[in-house]
Amino acid sequence: MTNPERDTLARLARFGSTLAVALVFAGLAFAMLSLPAEPTGLAAAVRAELPGTGAANPVTAVLLNFRGYDTLLEIAVLLLALLAIWTMRRGQLRPQRDPGDVLESLASIQAPVMLVVAGYLLWAGGSAPGGAFQAGGILAAAGVMLVLAGSGWPQRLSGWPLRVALVLGLSAFICVGVAVVLGGQEFLAYPASGAATIILVLEICATVSIAVILLDMFLSVLRGRASRTDTTASIDQP
């Protein structure tokens, strides 16, 4: 049954919201176009201070030294996101279906290559684009691929070893920060001589945590889906 008056209202509402979105978009576009072409950012200041940071790549210097506190909190955000998924997680992962020969053999070739690439990105982060987030992302992707190819070993990490791996990055950051404070300096102020080593250690720990967190997010969602289709399929259609 159609109600012509309601149809008109719905059309008006749609027109109104389209108009509102268009206006906001136009305003934002105008603001963007009016921005100065040469940004007045802190790039010059970062370059000037780079030698004392322990990193040759300005992005790494910003992420792990100048604004290391932001990165510390971002790693906490990642861990917290996993805990949020865990609060909604129910049930166990089903046995995998047969992935097929192609996927299985491809995965067995690609996984070691990805491991090497992740290691390279982690190391390169000191002087070129790269670093913990990229390396952790690739490691996690390798883990996801192995799970999809039917390998069981990414899931073998569980219990307290899993928990330690999850908190390693954030713990390392906190330990370094507190050690410096107890030594009489500001939180996360690395001594210039040891900065490169500290950054490398932090990046390694962060890579491990990021990889394990991302991988476990994937596994947790898989588990959640497996349990939903088992028990509450009638309530919660995908």
């Binding site: 007045t40 932001d70 909190l73 949020a84 609060t87 906190i174 500001e186 996360l188 102020a189």
Partner: protein, 488 residues
Amino acid sequence: MTALEPGSTWVVWLIVSPLAAALIAFLLPRVAAAIALANALFMGVAALALLDLVTEQGPHRYSLGGWGAPLGIDLYADPLSGVLLVVAAVVVLATLFYSRDYLARTAIGPLFWPISLFLHAALNALLLSADAFNLYVTLELLSLSAVALVALADEQRAVAAALRYLLASIVASLAYLLGVALLYHTAGVLDLAALAERATWTPATWAALGLMTAGLAVKGALFPVHFWLPGAHSYAPSPVSALLSALVVKAPFYVLLRLWYAPFAGAPEAVGTLLGLLGALAIVWGSLQALRQARLKLLIAYSTVAQIGYLFLFFPLAQSRSALQGVTVFILGHALAKAAMFLAAGNMHKCLGHDRIQDLHRVARELPVTLAAFAVGGVCIMGLPPSGNFIGKWLLIEAAFAQGEWGWAVVVVAGGLLSAAYVFRVLGHAFTVDDKPVDASGAPASMAWAAFALALLALTLGVFAAPLIDLIGGPGETAVAHLSSREP
């Protein structure tokens, strides 16, 4: 880099201690509750010590990493952040003490402890942040921990409410982040005080003002973008409802307040008036909705929607110092009273097995302390003396008169009458007599007294308010200069 005097590291411990405690509580679930309570106690001590420090020595800046703004990130503490840190510690301590017995009676797992510790860390980090981008990160951490805590309730509806909260929150975060990017591109710095020095009103600044205000309004549940709040705050486990309504929802308002004194200090009056009008509508709409609710926790949640409206009355009245003082005391009073009411509602829910307002019979006889906590909290929400809310409303009315804008004063008074109506509606049902049994063992004395202690603090806040008021925008200094000042 020079060695610092010992007192100045309190800002660091206020952030690092709850983070470290969260990790320990995550690794060792058995001692999680003890760790969380010990940390909450320590947070109370640290917040008081910091408040003392900034009262003695004035606003305090701390350069993380030793770089200093604008290259590095600075933490910033002044009496405003000091008193908010103290009240956050008090509410968290009472709520976690309550949660020990509450969790023992539910299926909520030990993840509650690390996540609530993350929430406390996020809150403290936000209150101490002096950097526009760092504020974004702390808002993310705060929202995610709040969402996760809502989802802990073992109920499909709670998970749905949590996801709705998450989606609203993410859109709001992105709007805020885009605003930060525009500000950075225009001014080249992220530190709030440095932004204030370099702010010019270009189209990009206007866009940033709109985006960041809109994003923070969604996160702060300002009418009409409060749609996510009633579900999230009412379906969450009761201690979580208390944390969310008392503390989390105030954080975006606090960020907006800081922005209002730094990059957006020159915003035209019309923007402030608009925010004030939305606040006034929130007071009326939230109160009317609260009157209509059948469930107690939904009533309290809608009451929060209304009370948030009072905070936004600050913006049209920002010219007079008593507006900032009023809004600060109001935040403290509402935090204590609302936490008490949600904890009391949690007790009633546990004992009765439901929270239908119509069926709250015999609560007065079987749960006297719990009902007293709810009633005292309700009296504070109405704004009767000597509650902090009374002082807060009084100062807001004073600010309205000082600026000759009587309309805002009328809104403040009308909101008080409406809140009296919905509080008495609950009390009326609680005093009726019925034969149905009430299982008073559902809420042990510790839970009832935790709620009552908070209510009592809220009620007596007005007595301590005078020194607090002097702290905020202290004598001889305007509030504006006080908030955006940088340490020499």
